[in-house]
Every structure is written in C-alpha cells, then in structure tokens.
C-alpha cells in the first residue's frame, strides 16, 4: 500500500472538487463527503505507517519542469517522519471534520467550509509527502492559502477579513525568505531533492557562509509559518476563524509545518552552528514572549493561540539545541493536546453562543461535563503533568536544552514551562470553576459529534507520549532510521523532577490565584501596571509594525503615486502640451497680414541662409 500513499492527499482533494462543484446542492451533507474522504485518508495513513515501520523509504517522482540542464521533479515520499506526520494530520483533521459537523451546522456556507477543509487537508498531506523541498514549498503556500480562506471564512466580519490578510501577508514575508533560501540552495547544490542536498552539503560543496545564509532563509519561512517572533503577530488574530479551523490549522498542523520544515532540513542546519543558535534563540524568545502575553489575555482562543506560539517556540528551541527527536516529538504530542484544547474551547464557545471572554465564563464544570474533563486533560498535558503526553515531550526538550549547555536558554525554557502551566490553569479555573459570570446560560453539553472527537483527542493526549519515554525510545529509533542528526539527549532524573516541579508549581499558583483566590491577581496587576499594560497590548508589536512598516510603505506608495502623476506622467503630458503650445505660438505668427507673411518669408529666408552660410564657412 505504501506505493499508493499518494492517495492520502488525493482523497480530500476529491472531496474538495466534489464540494466545489456540487457543494451548493449538498449543503449540510457536504460534511459527509469531507468526513468520508478524511476517514479514507486516515485508514490509508495507518496502513502506510504500519508498512513503513517495517519497511523502507519509498519515493516516486516525475519530471515537473526542465530548464537548461536542470530538471525539477515532483512526486511523493514516505519517510519515517512523513509517516508519523501523516497520522498526526489525518487524525486531527478527521476529528476536526467530525467536530465541525455540529459546530458549523448553522452556517449556510458549511459546504464551502468543508471544501476549504478538504483543500487544506490535501495541501497539508501533500506538504508532508513531498520528496523535495520545492514541492514542500508549493504545498506550504497552499496551506497558507487555506489558512487565509478559513481565517477569512466569516469574511463579512471586518476583523476576520483583516486577520486573513494579515495571516497571509505575514507568513508571506517568511515565505519569500524561504523561497530565496530554496533558490540559493538549488543554485548551490543543483537540486531540490533532500538526499542530493544533504549529500552535497555534507561533502562540503557549499561553503559555510552560504549554508548559514540558506539555513537562515529557510528558517525565516519557518518563523513566518510557525508564528515565531517577530512574525508571530498573525496567529492570535487568526483566531477570528471558526474554532475547528483554529484547532486544525493554527494549533495542530499548519503552524507546526515550520517546525517540520526545520526538521526535514535538519542536516543542513546541523552544519551551521550559527543557524542552530539562531533557531534556538528565536524559539526560546518566542516561547517566553508569547507565554508572558498569554498570562494576561482574557480571550479563551487567544490564550490558546499564544500558548501555541509559545509551544512552537519550544519546539524550535529543541531543534535549535540539537533535540531533533525532542522537537518533533513535542510537535506530535502538542498536535493532539492543543487540538483537544481548541476543540474544547470550541465546544465552550459553541455552548456559550460564540462568546469567548473568559471573564464572562466560569462554573462550566457542572454544566459541560465532557468538555470540562477533556479540557482538563488537555491542560494537564500541556502543563507537563506525568504521565500525559506533554510531560514526556517537554522533558526531552528540557534535556536537549540542558545538554546544549546554554544556561540562558535553559532558564528561559524553565520559566516558559512554568508560565505554561500557570496560564493554562488560570484559563481552566476561570472558565470552568467558580460561578458562571456570563449573561447567557450555556445550553448544556454539546452533542456526541463534538464530545467524541474531544474524547478521542483526550485519549491521544494521554497516551501519545508513551511512544517515546525513558522506558523505550520507540519514536526516536523510528525517526532516526538512516539519519544522522547527532546525539539526542535524554533526561536525567533531576530533570524529570524539575519538570514535574514546574508543572506543580504553575498549577498550584494558578489554583491559589484563580481557584482559591488566596492571592489577588488584582494586587499583582496594580503593582506593575506598566508591565500589565505592556503585556495586555502584546508588547505593542502590532502598533510598531503598523508604524514602522505599513504606514511608511503606504506613504512611500502615495508619494510615488504623486511623483508618477506629477513628474513621470507630468513630463509626458508636458511634452504633449508644450508641442501644442509651440504649435499655437507658431500659429499666432499667421496674423492674417500679408505683409507679415512677406516679412517672415524674408527674415526667415535670410536667417536660414545666414545660418547656412555660417555653417558652410562663407563668413570666415
């Protein structure tokens, strides 16, 4: 079946095409088309994974374009990493498809929604199966498009329209970097194929500076897509999209593509220590930075969004510090528990008639049992409570950072982990415990269509971590087949303890502040109002970008537009007008006086003759 892996993305594509043409007729039934396609993909992915575990990497290519002596191919490839990612994506996607059936059923454009989801799944799966980095880039852009479409799904909301544009544009900045990186890489190695690239790089055919530049360019793409600092600004805004979309695209899959990209290009990064350092620092700073913002935010989806940014930073940090398996492991586990959290949040929002402010929630525990329990599992997982998935992956990341030896990074990582536990439980306590503070009672627990996906994800959030524990590094062995990515650090016992400690401290602190309310959050806030304001305004990054990039660009554009009208076109019009004007001036000499005519004839004749004589040399 592994030869037929190409079918995995094709199923959702077929769904997309069907819905594109017949969506209007199918309306709500569209969901079944999408769900069926995803289910098929999922089944096939499982088969492929099983086959791959015992098998070889399978590659299929055909010529895509020829120029000069170079040929670029396209095709698909099943490597261990791919196979793993296929499962992650198909699972989450399938669950989101199911979840959306209920969540979106009131929307008239549900068929459009499912067609977009289909397109996205196709693109994401295509991205994963790409045998070369160019094809990856192609699908990379396509998922960006889907993200744009889905964020802007409710296009009639100006915020959604703006967010969609922002999402696309910001990632586009990174993408151009990536594109340049790819092109440089191609020119340096003559190929887009991973294997050819890596062997060329390892053979030293590309000089170190170039490798560093290329790596940084490629990383720029990852920064955009995975919402790393300083291009993270789009992800929180992208929460304007429907919540299942946030779960699928902006938590589990697409945003993780940046991490995945660094993962597949890992041998290249390994050659350049500078690039690795940049990756690590970017990841760490992002993780910390986004975590701090999440501390004060009050929108349930935005908290999760910042949390996602922070966790993605964590993965980058892992990769940057040599933790190849750690980063990708966290990517997997994070996909499950973050999708769970988002879908849980979606469930809450759905029940609350699309209200997202956690200050207006509270006391949902009794009202929405399944949602609450699964959400708690997700929160525990992300906080790193053993034996849930997040614990195992976070622990290896800390180990990787520690073994890297940079104390600054390690401290940042620890603080971030602490903050993660804290703000997740701040969210949990505020939303699910205490009194209900909203104005509209929730309509109770949602239907099975929504809770079952939650339950499945909760299950995965619990067990996904077991594939790579100190008791057995199965995932590591699997991913490292035929790959040399250096030493993979494993946690020592004290790190495990630290990990648990962080989680406990964070949760405890949140409990004290928001559960028990022993410590007043108000008091802390009033002590450092400036910091609070700064965090609340997300470090003023949006405003900064607006002032530094957007407004000057528009101003320059306006300036040039004036120049274009006034000067460039002005000269053209001036020439035209001057021609006409001189014509008129000449014409005015024809004043109707025949004696003027005679005189002009005479003077003109004499003048021309004089000029000619002078030129001819008659007058010396």
């Amino acid at each position: 079946m592994i030869q037929n892996a190409w079918l995995i993305p094709v199923f959702p594509l077929i769904a997309f095409i069907i819905l594109l043409f017949f969506g209007n007729a199918l309306k709500e039934k569209s969901s079944y088309v999408g769900i069926t396609a995803m289910a098929l993909s999922f089944i096939l992915s499982v088969i492929v994974l099983v086959e791959r575990i015992g098998g070889e990497t399978y590659t299929f290519t055909l010529n895509w374009i020829t120029f000069g002596d170079s040929t670029i191919t396209m095709g698909y490839e099943v490597t261990p990493l791919n196979a793993m990612m296929l499962i992650v994506v198909t699972v989450v996607s399938l669950l989101v498809h199911i979840f959306s059936r209920e969540y979106m059923h009131e929307d008239k454009r549900i068929n459009v929604f499912y067609s977009y989801l289909g397109l996205f799944s196709f693109s994401m799966l295509g991205l994963i199966l790409s045998p070369n980095i160019l094809q990856l880039f192609i699908f990379w852009e396509l998922v960006g498009l889907c993200s744009f479409l889905l964020v802007g799904f409710w296009y009639f909301k100006p915020e959604a329209a703006a967010a969609a544009k922002k999402a696309f544009l910001t990632t586009r900045i990174g993408d151009v970097g990536l594109l340049i990186g790819l092109v440089l890489l191609f020119n340096a190695t003559g190929s887009f194929e991973y294997g050819a690239i890596f062997s060329a790089v390892e053979a030293g055919l590309v000089n170190d500076t170039m490798v560093t530049i290329i790596a940084i360019c490629i990383f720029l793409g990852a920064v955009g897509k995975s919402a790393q600092f300083p291009l993270h600004v789009w992800l929180p805004d992208a929460m304007e999209g429907p919540t299942p979309v946030s779960a699928l695209i902006h938590a589990a899959t697409m945003v993780a593509a940046g991490v995945y990209l660094v993962g597949v290009m890992y041998p290249l990064f390994l050659v350049s220590s500078t690039a690795m350092t940049i990756v690590a620092y970017t990841g760490a700073i992002t993780a910390f930075f986004a975590g701090t913002i999440a501390l004060v935010n009050t929108d349930i989806k935005r908290i999760l969004a910042y949390s996602t940014v922070s966790q993605l930073g964590f993965m980058m940090l892992a990769l940057g510090t040599g933790g190849y398996v750690a980063g990708l492991f966290h990517l997997t586990t994070h996909a499950f528990f973050k999708a769970l959290l988002f879908l849980g949040a979606g469930s809450v929002i759905f029940a609350l008639h699309h209200r997202q402010d956690i200050r207006k929630m509270g006391g949902l525990w009794g009202r929405m049992k399944w949602t609450s329990i699964t959400f708690l599992i997700g929160a525990l997982a992300i906080a790193g409570v053993p034996p849930l998935a997040g614990f195992w992956s976070k622990e290896v990341i800390l180990a990787a950072v520690w073994s890297n030896g940079d104390m600054f990074l390690f401290i940042l990582a620890v603080i971030t982990a602490l903050m993660t536990a804290f703000y997740m439980f701040r969210l949990f306590f505020k939303a699910f415990t205490g009194e209900f503070r909203g104005d509209h009672e929730p309509h109770g627990e949602n239907s099975k269509l929504m809770t079952v996906p939650l339950a499945v994800l909760a299950f995965l959030a619990i067990v996904a971590g077991f594939v790579n524990t100190p008791f057995g590094f199965y995932l590591e062995d699997f991913l490292l087949q035929g790959l040399n990515v250096g030493y993979q650090a494993h946690g020592e016992m004290w790190l495990v303890g630290l990990s648990i400690g962080i989680a406990v401290v964070g949760i405890g602190l949140a409990y004290l502040m928001y559960g028990k309310k022993v410590i007043s959050s108000e008091a802390i806030r009033s002590k450092v109002p400036a910091v609070h304001k700064l965090l609340l305004n997300k470090y003023y990054m949006d405003e900064l970008y607006q002032k530094v990039f957007v407004q000057p660009t528009v101003a320059i554009g306006k300036f040039f537009w004036e120049v274009d009208k006034g000067v460039v076109d002005g000269i053209v019009n001036f020439v035209g007008r001057a021609t006409r004007l001189s014509g008129r001036t000449f014409a005015k000499r024809h004043d109707g006086q025949l004696q003027t005519y005679g005189l002009v004839t005479l003077i003109g004749g004499i003048a021309v003759i004089a000029v000619a004589f002078v030129l001819r040399g008659y007058f010396g």
């Binding site: 014409a587 004043d591 109707g592 006086q593 025949l594 004696q595 005679g598 005189l599 005479l602």
Partner: protein, 102 residues
C-alpha cells in the same frame, strides 16, 4: 563703358525698393506697383547681362519680353482681384485683410 556692376546695382536697388514697398505700403495698388518694380529690376539685370555681360547674347532680351508680358498678365489679374476685394470689403487697405489667420 559703364561696367555691368552698376546696372546690377541699379537692379538690386530697384528690387529692394520694390520689396520694401511690398512689405510696408498699406495701399494694395501701391503694393502691386511695387511688385512691378521688382520685376523691372529683373529686366534691368537681364538686359544688362544681355548687352554687356560676360556672355552677352540676345536671350536675355527675349527673356525680358516674356517677363514684361507675364508681369502685365499678373498685374491684370491682381487688379481684377483687387476690384473684387474692394467690392466685398470696401477697402483695399492691406492691414484690414485679415479674415484669414491663425
């Protein structure tokens, strides 16, 4: 013997007077007369060349006859047009003839 240059100078002077008259006089009859003057300067030249020029021969005088004839024809047509003009405009002032311009 009077050198040919003197006759040529006379011709030139006549030509210039005629031209000056054409360009300055407002009375159109005078203007026509001045044109005759210019043509006569040509005749003087031709006859001078014909009799005392470097290649004196009879052709010049024949030419002169043609010039005189055609000048007369031209003057006749000119005067006829002048009369038509006067009928239309009741003026033969050169300056006032500026319906056609620009």
């Amino acid at each position: 013997m009077v050198p040919v240059e003197l006759f040529l100078a006379l011709g030139a002077i006549l030509f210039c007077i005629g031209l000056y008259g054409v360009l300055t006089r407002r009375h159109l009859v005078i203007v026509l007369v001045c044109i005759e003057l210019m043509l006569n300067s040509v005749n003087i030249n031709l006859i001078a060349f014909s009799s005392i020029g470097p290649f004196a021969n009879i052709t010049g005088q024949v030419f002169t006859l043609f010039v005189i004839t055609l000048a007369a024809a031209e003057a006749a047509v000119g005067l006829a047009i002048l009369i038509a003009l006067y009928r239309n405009r009741e003026s033969i002032d050169a300056i006032k003839q500026d319906l056609l311009r620009w």
